[in-house]
C-alpha cells in the first residue's frame, strides 16, 4: 500500500489545483508531464501518448477533488494515464508488443569467451560521479539520444524506475508488467545505456 508522504510544496500545489489556479496547472503540467508521457509511451505511439496526457490534464481538474492523498500526486497522475491508455488499447483491441527475452545485449554478450569469462572487459572506470558526468553537455545530449532510441517499453521502465524513482511494485502496477518482466526491461535498457556511456568515455563521441 502506498504511504502518503506529501511534501509541503506538494500539498500547496494540490490545494492550488483544487482551487482551479491556472498558474498552478501550468507549473504541474511542466513538472509532471515528462513522467506521464513516459507512462503513455509504454502503451501508445507518440502522438496518441501526447493526446492522452492532454486529456488527462483536463480530467484532473475534476478528479483532483476526489484525490485522497493515499499515494503521491505523481503516482496518482501516472495511474490515471496508465488506466486511460489501457482503456484505449482495449477499445482498439491492440496489445503492447514487448520483447521480454532475458539475457544480455548482443554487443555485451559477444565480449565474453566460450568459458564465460571476459574477452573484452570494461577498460575504463566511470570515475566521475553522476553529477559530474552530467555536467558534460555532450554526454547529456548523447544520453538523450540513446534514451530516445531505446524500445519504448525499456525506456518507460527506466524512466519510471530511475528518473522518477517509483518503487518496483508501483512500476509493475502502472505498466501492467510482472516483476520478472520489469527486471528484464530494466536490465536490457541499462546495458544499452552502459554501452553508450562506455563508448562515449573511450572515444568522446556519441
Amino acid at each position: 500500500m502506498d504511504s502518503a508522504v506529501h511534501t509541503q510544496t506538494e500539498l500547496s500545489l494540490i490545494e492550488a489545483l483544487r482551487r482551479g489556479d491556472a498558474m498552478a496547472y501550468q507549473k504541474a503540467v511542466r513538472e509532471y508531464s515528462p513522467g506521464m508521457l513516459a507512462v503513455a509511451r509504454f502503451y501508445l505511439d507518440h502522438s496518441s501518448a501526447e493526446e492522452v496526457v492532454q486529456d488527462c490534464w483536463v480530467t484532473v481538474i475534476d478528479a483532483i477533488h476526489k484525490f485522497e492523498g493515499r499515494s503521491g500526486l505523481k503516482t496518482w497522475l501516472h495511474r490515471i494515464v496508465a488506466n486511460r491508455c489501457k482503456n484505449k488499447l482495449r477499445a482498439s483491441k491492440r496489445e503492447v508488443a514487448t520483447d521480454f527475452s532475458e539475457g544480455l545485449e548482443p554487443d555485451l554478450a559477444e565480449r565474453f569467451n566460450a568459458t564465460g569469462r571476459w574477452d573484452l572487459p570494461p577498460k575504463l572506470q566511470f570515475h566521475d560521479s553522476a553529477d559530474t558526468l552530467l555536467e558534460n553537455g555532450a554526454l547529456s545530449d548523447c544520453l538523450d539520444k540513446h534514451l530516445s532510441a531505446l524500445p519504448e517499453t525499456q525506456r518507460s521502465a527506466l524512466m519510471l524506475y530511475e528518473a522518477h524513482q517509483h518503487k518496483s511494485e508501483e512500476v509493475c502496477n502502472i505498466l501492467d508488467v510482472s516483476a520478472s518482466n520489469l527486471r528484464v526491461l530494466l536490465h536490457r535498457g541499462r546495458q544499452k545505456i552502459f554501452l553508450m556511456v562506455e563508448a562515449f568515455q573511450e572515444t568522446g563521441e556519441c
Binding site: V29, V58, R117, Q125, F126, L134, Q165, R183, L186, F194
Partner: protein
Amino acid sequence: MLMCRDLAVIASDYIDGELSGRQSLSVKMHLMMCRDCRTFIGNLRATTDLMKGHSSGKLNEAFLQRVDERVAEALRTKTSPNKDK
C-alpha cells in the same frame, strides 16, 4: 560456480538488491576475485546513477501550449458553467 557472463546477466538484480541472500553472496565472492567484474558492476551502477540524475524528457513547446490552452479552457468552463446558456 558463477562466471563473469552469469554475473553480467544478473548484474541489475544485484545492484537493485533483488537477489536472494545466497545469490548475492555468490556475486560478492566473485567480485572479490574478479577486477573486471568489479569494474563492470561499478560502471553499471554509475550508469543507473546517471539516469537518476538525468532530467527525463524535454517537453516540446507545442505540446505545452496545447495542454495550457485546453486546461485554461476547461477551467473557464468550470468557473462559469452557464455562460453560454
